[in-house]
Symmetry: C2
Amino acid sequence: MADAQNAVLEQVRQYARETAMLESTQQLLEWDERTYMPPEAGEYRAEQVAYLAGLIHQRHTDPRLGEWLTQLAESPLAAEPHSEAGCTIRQMRREYDKKTKLPESLVKELTRLTVRGQQTWVVARKNNDFAAFAPVLGQIVALKRQEAEALGYEDCIYDALLDTYEPDEKTANVRRVLAALRDDLTPLVQAIAESDRAPKLDILKRIYPAAAQEAFGKEAAARIGFEFPAGRLDVTHHPFCTNVGPRDTRITTRYDERFFPSAFFGILHEAGHGIYDQGLPAEHYGLPPGKYVSLGIHESQSRMWENLVGRSREFWEFFFPAAKKAFSHALDDVSLNEFYFAINDVRPSLIRVEADEATYNLHIIIRFELEQELIEDRLRVNDLPAAWNEKYRQYLGIEPPTDADGVLQDVHWSAGLIGYFPTYSLGNLYAAQLFRQADEDLGNLPQRFALGQFLPLREWLREKIHAQGQRYTAAQLVENITGRPLDHKPLIDYLRKKLGPLYGLD
Amino acid sequence: MADAQNAVLEQVRQYARETAMLESTQQLLEWDERTYMPPEAGEYRAEQVAYLAGLIHQRHTDPRLGEWLTQLAESPLAAEPHSEAGCTIRQMRREYDKKTKLPESLVKELTRLTVRGQQTWVVARKNNDFAAFAPVLGQIVALKRQEAEALGYEDCIYDALLDTYEPDEKTANVRRVLAALRDDLTPLVQAIAESDRAPKLDILKRIYPAAAQEAFGKEAAARIGFEFPAGRLDVTHHPFCTNVGPRDTRITTRYDERFFPSAFFGILHEAGHGIYDQGLPAEHYGLPPGKYVSLGIHESQSRMWENLVGRSREFWEFFFPAAKKAFSHALDDVSLNEFYFAINDVRPSLIRVEADEATYNLHIIIRFELEQELIEDRLRVNDLPAAWNEKYRQYLGIEPPTDADGVLQDVHWSAGLIGYFPTYSLGNLYAAQLFRQADEDLGNLPQRFALGQFLPLREWLREKIHAQGQRYTAAQLVENITGRPLDHKPLIDYLRKKLGPLYGLD
């Protein structure tokens, strides 16, 4: 009996490994499309990717897999939920149920509609014409409601969508934490906006040659622990990190020769994602114990290296001499303090992707609040621009002059990504809470950074988070590691402690 | 009835298109492996490629496909063998029969043995130890005999193997043409070896910076008609050309900064392959009317651009001024005549891959003769080194000092590639015969080259060869175009006409 169950489990594992070989192949097709593919190859590439997606979807929803998982559900192997076997059975069941609950007609309709949605959005943003986008957005919201109903939920409809990106997380909990964050963040941002101190931002807009940026960025990524023998850094339009195999993690960036921070902190950000991927147990590649746990946790890794490490004073105590060498023309007359202040500039702004680490969360909270209202039918699509602008006034003290710089700025909703935005802020919150714990466990992390020692933090993250795969939910993981549930205080404390002295706040 | 048959044909086409999506995906995996893949990713990549190969093999041998093809064989659609439908049905049947004739056990045994064969060969060549390689080579030859018996043949066992690489070609015909070539080539090479004229080879061994080689090589490849919007040029260890889609053809090279010809003529060679791939009808991608006809014809395209065009005096009348600019340090004191003589140096040498365009064919003829004797059991593996050395004495007037520089130099036999070598010389023969016809049809091609006009030749090749896909066999194609069967005279005439004046022969 136990032997038979072990045999079924091994069958399921082998099945998942083979699916992962197709998925990682698809990752390579997409990486290539966004880096080196010749311009005229796009049409066929789209067919290749769609064909592979079909094969992969068939495998994910194959009734044989469902039967095997049903057999395993009652087995003692499933009894210990955090064991390798228990985790595999639970998470594969979860995935199978999610994929099979959606009627094929709905999946196809959503694909069709979101392709059209994105095309419409591109034009609408260009023409600053929300009215042209509103009808298709309305249809997308309606279909996402159908999707949520098909997936099912207990408390509120938004739960079903959130769960896709942040498994097992609940809207009520995220609302609680983000509301607390918003209430503490708004006055902090307000105080900074009123401060009479400001960094010299022009020093970041001097000439930073791309080749020097690449060499310097690679050196930093390697130093914090991204393993280049099992990875790459290439150039693309919209930077991303992808995983093509257990020892093949590829990050990308884009060099702006007239603005230093975009590529450099972008590289640290993607390297943070990559370090997580490289730290997942290779022996469980393609299986739940070898997969990332949630988008929020993934983002916590990128944000930790980008912001809590990469924008720290101690990081630059170590790296600034090398930066002065690499960019001698730009940084010749710049002091460490001036540079440190400039890369930590905080100010209310219109565009999320260009926002600093403090105001960024207010951009997210606005989207999170609005998309809940949309999906719960408490806000009509036509009233969305006004609601958007009102929240920008309220939380950030500014008002978008156009919808193109307001409600039309993000691709997400046009692509059907509703429930996705909060994972960005969850990432920031997790990062701060985990970093505080790492600092306690390891003892004065920043001083280590000043000496160029980043591997102790990477090893801590590897053991506590990366090595765990999906054995625990994101919430359990954070509570296991820090001894308390997700809380906004570590993030707000971190921001206050850092920004207070820079802007001369009490 | 006709409708039903059309429906079956369309089913077969769609099936082949889907198989091609997997095959082209596999091409990308392999291109990436040989260009950009991180070093530690190799193990998983091997698993991905093997998994995809399994899926592809299943599709090629699926009994449903066999049934469809049987239904179509008797249909009027198959009656006109050179039509799009007739070509599709005939060639897919051919492919299906070939794949299904081999027992799975034999395929697996060959895979296993040739992996071991290549590993053993690497060590044996390094240690100059033929005895270490002989046993596994003996087993490979024995299995290739089994393969040939399983595939079947009419005249001689070698036919079955040759047919894999040069479909429908016969050993007797290749033997006839290559024997005639050998008999004319040996005295020509002998006369050149005895000539008191020799080029200044040192001019090719000066410093040619890799970046300048890349720019110059790309310019030349684009000029002769390789379309970079539908292709790429990258760096690799062992250069190749691959096709990742109908508008995605990738060539590769390797820069030797101390020897100009290797990368430059390598790029022309691979661009020639690439121009063929880019000229195949995109609308039939993955189907016989959109596939290359044979390895010999593929090689004829690469050799034509590399040698008949790229080593012509007129080519360099056009390109030499640009070369002098690109490599001013190396070519400052070099005349066009000196350069032209140097890149056309002919001398008997030991290593095939470094041989000039005249002696190259003698290297091939030796291998062709010996592998026939091996497969027909007229030569024992243990006697192979002596036979090899004897033929080098006879045809090239030199003797390998070691087996490493003799019988152990090529990977082919260790990889089970028996019947492959003659396609290289068929390529040279086809190239010369086709080029002579193009010159007649278009009128003084070389004068056009001197003006930088290469597209008339490309268009001629596109129409006469590339656009035909597999509608005709290689032999039919050459006879259709030139009005006569394959003949060694165009090649030997070309070599005599070019080399005679250079070496002062009568």
